[in-house]
Amino acid sequence: MSRRTVARLGVAVAALTAFDVIGFLSGAEHHGGIWNSVPLGDLALGVLGAGVLVWFSKRILKRLLSRPESYYDGTRQP
């Protein structure tokens, strides 16, 4: 990882933390989800959720369902 990348990531993490603090301070129990009232909950949900999605789709689903584009060619269509 280059220094620039590290710097960028650092800025992002700092911004996110700042947001989280604001969110936490603004009394975030608005619609019942735990992730709203726990510090770093939204962030964790975002990172975990997106991560799981990428992992599940790209690693599991793609392996199961991927076919060449010519897969249906030559089958009898309605």
Partner: protein, 571 residues
């Protein structure tokens, strides 16, 4: 009769006549824009009341305006206007007519006041959207259209059966919420579920929409699924099964969008996902949730049309439709990319954009009802939406590495349509009351609270972080992903040809049993072993049998019938 002119669909249908009268001079003639404007003005003028006639002994309520139907009619008229403006440099007479009929039927469906009228325009919508798909003009469009037809004919048949049962059972002729757990309830729900693209009945959408022309897919993205959402709101508010279905659907679309390579199919999966929000909201059934469904449909139509316009702009400019072929074209089409970004931020529910004001309403409604899992799934779907529509698609299509793709300049009308669409997305995002003042149910909602904004921003930023880290993994690759259409493209097609063989007569059956059963089992086994291999094409039977069979059947029929009579009544 004067009320007829106030029916917005009437304007669009008039447009069909005009188009056909001028079909030789058609190119460049924006009839659609003018009549859509007429329809929009008719709606904005504030029509109300009902318009009904008696045709062939049926009382038909062509027009029954309330806040719910007017909201949908309004956004349909807006998107029709945008669509015609977007495509007016290229749309031929046939395509314009199909789009006019499609938009007009969609408007007429949501304004219909009785079951028969509703059914008629529902079917007209199916047929005209099919025509629009076929206007894509490629062999792929033709075959996808046939599959689309197969699904929607099933839906239409279910709806017809449901309505016939409902009316025969002494049900109300005017549209209204159905008594739950009756056969008509389930039949009509099935029909609406097909049009709402609820998995596993959703593949017609992702299968057919990418095959239409670029302007065609803008229209397609707007009407069919949202008319179904309207029908759900009208007929099935508070049906609990819809909550898990909707939440699952929201996530289903997202998951498939992550691995999709075709840009318009990716956006199609996001229609499935976004409609999932609305379906779940209808299932929740509180006034806030129903308002959320209606307003999200409104917002969704605008930003999804904008997204399809953006995808279409890339296709128009390059002639390419796959992420793996595109890349590095943003410099030559900055305005279109910017407008696409507006749409992408809207669909992701970023504050200041119109997705935010409606999506958060649904999520909040789920929260208020303490549906924790639903809320979690919807939030996850929002994350995934930003991941693929907001980041993956633009990154690999517009930015990313340059592949030396030739880019043609885009026509002005196309850019103007995108500009208006983007402006509308921002307008409703900045001034939510413009939309909220039109909502049908009694519930108030304030989207711009600090915690909402901050929470959404954190989710989006965290998603951006993950995308940055996983962008190599997310890189698109050629190929297709199996979806539930496999079920009717392979096993059902086989079953049909086997049935036809069996019906053709005893001779073919015998030969099938003797010879082909073995080879068929064999090839099935080989396919399981090597899933990539294309299935083998089978010849069709000739369906001819000796006339002796008819005589023999007659003799058998005589004997059997006689036996049946004798058994029923011996002596």
């Amino acid at each position: 009769m004067s009320a007829l002119f106030l029916h917005p669909a009437f304007w669009l249908f008039i447009g069909i006549v005009v188009v056909f009268a001028n079909r030789r001079r058609m190119p460049g003639m924006p009839v659609g824009v003018i009549v859509a404007l007429g329809a929009l003005l008719a709606l904005l003028r504030g029509v109300e009341g009902t318009l009904e006639t008696t045709v062939a002994g049926f009382r038909l309520v062509w027009f029954h305006a309330d806040r719910l139907s007017l909201l949908f009619a309004l956004v349909f008229a807006i998107v029709a206007l945008l669509g015609f403006l977007y495509g007016s440099h290229r749309m031929r007479a046939g395509e314009t007519a199909a789009a006019l009929l499609y938009a007009g039927s969609a408007i007429a469906t949501v304004l219909a006041g009785d079951w028969i009228t509703f059914f008629v325009f529902w079917e007209a919508m199916a047929l005209s959207s099919l025509a629009l798909i076929w206007q894509g003009g490629t062999a792929g469009a033709r075959r996808a259209g046939m599959r689309y037809l197969l699904v929607h004919a099933t839906g239409g048949a279910l709806l017809f059966a449901g309505i016939a049962l409902h009316l025969a059972g002494g049900g109300e002729t005017s549209l209204g919420a159905l008594a739950s757990d009756s056969p008509p309830f389930w039949l009509i729900l099935g029909a609406v579920a097909i049009n709402a693209a609820i998995p596993p009945l959703h593949v017609w959408l992702t299968d057919a929409y990418p095959e239409a022309s670029t302007s065609g897919s803008v229209f397609l993205s707007a009407f069919t699924t949202k008319t179904a959402v309207y029908a759900l709101l009208r007929l099935f508010p508070g049906t609990e099964i819809l909550v898990p279905l909707g939440a699952a659907m929201a996530l289903y679309g997202v998951v498939f969008a992550v691995i999709e390579n075709d840009i318009r199919r990716l956006l199609g999966y996001h229609i499935v996902s976004q409609v999932g929000y609305m379906v779940a909201a209808v299932g929740i059934g509180t006034p806030l949730a129903l308002n959320g469904a209606a307003s999200h449909a409104f917002s969704h139509i605008l930003y999804k049309a904008l997204l399809f316009m953006g995808a279409g702009a890339a296709i128009e400019a390059t002639g390419l439709r796959r992420l793996s072929d595109l890349g590095g074209i943003s410099r030559q089409m900055r305005f279109a990319v910017a407008m696409y970004a507006v749409g992408a931020l809207s669909i992701s529910g970023a504050p200041l954009f119109n997705g935010f004001i409606s999506k958060s309403m649904i999520v909040s409604a789920a929260g208020e009802e303490h549906l924790l899992w639903t809320e979690l799934l919807l939030v996850l779907a929002a994350v995934g939406t930003f991941l693929s529509v907001g980041l993956k698609l633009p990154w690999f299509a517009f930015f990313g590495e340059r592949r030396g793709v030739a880019v043609r300049p885009l026509p002005t009308n196309l850019l103007a349509a995108m500009g208006i669409g983007g402006a509308l997305c921002l307008l409703y995002g900045l001034f939510p009351h413009l939309l909220y003042s039109r909502l049908p149910y009694l519930a108030t909602y304030a989207p711009y609270t600090l915690d909402h904004v901050v929470s959404t921003a954190q989710l989006l930023l965290a998603t951006g972080l993950v995308f940055y880290l996983a962008r190599k993994t997310l890189a698109p690759s050629p190929g297709l992903a199996l979806d539930t259409d496999w079920l009717y493209r392979i096993p059902l097609a086989r079953a049909v040809s086997a049935t036809t063989g069996a019906l053709a007569g005893v001779g073919p059956v015998v030969s099938t049993l003797r010879g082909e059963a073995v080879t068929r089992l064999d090839s099935a086994a080989r396919r399981l072993a090597a899933p990539g291999a294309p299935p083998r094409r089978r010849e069709s039977f000739a369906f001819r049998a000796s006339i002796g069979w008819t005589v023999l059947f007659a003799a058998v029929a005589v004997v059997i019938t006689w036996l049946v009579v004798w058994l029923r009544n011996p002596g």
